[in-house]
């Protein structure tokens, strides 16, 4: 059985190792030390040490990917995910495992007198703890990537609302730069709203679009064409003076798409197409 000396050492000196280890963690100069109470730190450390013992007992020498280490990996995974959320850096999270080395190596060197055996045991223990430490970093990173991905998705959904302005008149206020992925989402939600509401006019407002280059213009025209294929006319509104200049300087051809300077103008135009007009009722 691999790491048998390590297992003996941990089993014999479990509480001392735990004391030294938690003390080491407490002493480490990191910004996040204060975020976890001493009690919780000790509980987590004790849990982890127990899982390491279980892992070592079942270890077949295949490294930490082996089923023997499942429970230890699960524990570490939960731990790094929660620390990632609390704002720990990856190295602070990895140090939780790596700081176990010192007390373990101390015990190993005092219990093993034979130099080659000690070297081998130290190497095995080191490899094991390094593997577990790297695993925490990986999970930590994955946790953060999940957060980023979720936020991207939420941003995508938040930024493409389709609003009903009037019977048969829809508005899509676009905010932020248009890329292919967003154009797809805008198109899908606009077209499905056209079907649900039976709208015949859609106003695409680009007041919130910071710049219009050839690519953005192309995406806008795609959306207009798709709406036209469904039988709805599009009006592009909210074109700022600088954007009008850029469009002309770039030589972008907006074709026969109706454009208006403001959403209000576009709405007035849409009402006119539908044969409606707004009138004051004379009461001031």
């Amino acid at each position: 059985m691999a790491n048998s000396a390590l297992l003996d050492v941990i089993e014999q000196h479990e509480s001392e190792i735990l004391d030294e280890w938690t003390a080491l963690q407490q002493r480490s100069k990191s910004s996040a030390t204060g975020m976890i109470g001493a009690e919780q730190r000790r509980r987590e450390s004790a849990d982890f040490l127990r899982h390491v013992v279980t892992g070592l007992q079942k270890d077949s020498g295949d490294g930490i990917e082996a089923p023997a280490w499942d429970s230890a990996r699960d524990l570490l995974g939960d731990l790094s995910r929660s620390r990632a959320r609390q704002g720990f850096t990856p190295s602070e999270t990895a140090m939780f495992v790596l700081s176990l080395k010192q007390p373990l190596f101390d015990r190993l060197s005092s219990s093993l007198k034979d130099a080659p055996t000690l070297a081998r045991e130290l190497w095995d223990a080191s490899r094991l703890l390094d593997g577990l430490g790297l695993y925490t970093t990986e999970v930590h990173q994955k946790g953060r990537e999940d957060v980023i991905r979720r936020q991207q998705q939420e941003l995508l959904e938040l930024s493409t609302p389709v609003i009903r302005l009037w019977d048969g008149i829809l508005a899509v206020p676009l905010i932020g730069t248009l890329d292919s992925a967003r154009t797809q989402v805008v198109m899908e939600s606009l077209l499905s709203q056209i079907v649900t509401t039976g709208a015949s006019i859609a106003v695409i407002d680009i007041t919130g679009v910071p710049t219009v280059d050839t690519l953005v213009a192309q995406h806008l025209l795609k959306t207009v064409s798709a709406a036209r294929l469904m039988g709805a006319d599009c009006i592009i509104s909210g074109i700022r003076p600088q954007i009008a200049q850029t469009i002309v300087h770039l030589g972008v051809d907006l074709g026969d798409v109706t454009t208006k300077a403001s959403l209000a103008e576009a709405f007035r135009h849409a009402l006119a197409i539908k044969g409606l007009h707004v009138q004051a009722d004379g009461r001031e």
Partner: protein, 126 residues
């Protein structure tokens, strides 16, 4: 030629309604163009509605056929409106660069009739 290969052309007043419900192949498309032009002349129709709401896939072939029918009908003095395109189909066509220029579109048959001159045209001739 078996019955399923022929696409029926229905007459509503001065309009003709073509509902495409199966995937088209070359021969069917040619047959439809022939039948439709014949019927336009025969009935003196002023408008043609092509309903593609049942089609889940519209490729470049169908796209070109729609454009051809539109041009042919226009020569025979009948306006064509393609109605009922699905959102997914519209997005795919735009992504393929097939924006069907010159083809008029409407959301459904009702809107199409309106576009072709209101319900008066759709009413049966007395």
């Amino acid at each position: 030629m078996s019955g399923i290969d022929v696409i029926p052309i229905l007459r509503i007043g001065e309009l003709l309604l073509v509902t495409i419900q199966v995937d088209m192949h070359d021969r069917m498309a040619m047959q439809l163009q022939e039948d439709l032009t014949d019927r336009i002349v025969e009935t003196n129709a002023k408008g043609v509605l092509i309903d593609i709401s049942a089609l889940e896939v519209v490729d470049s072939f169908i796209g070109r056929m729609l454009a051809n029918i539109t041009s042919m009908s226009r020569i025979l003095d009948a306006e064509t409106v393609v109605v009922g395109m699905r959102p997914a189909v519209a997005i795919t066509l735009v992504e393929l660069g097939l924006e069907l220029p010159g083809v008029r579109t409407a959301l459904d048959v009702d809107r199409g009739i309106e576009l072709l001159g209101g319900p008066a045209l759709g009413r049966p001739k007395r």
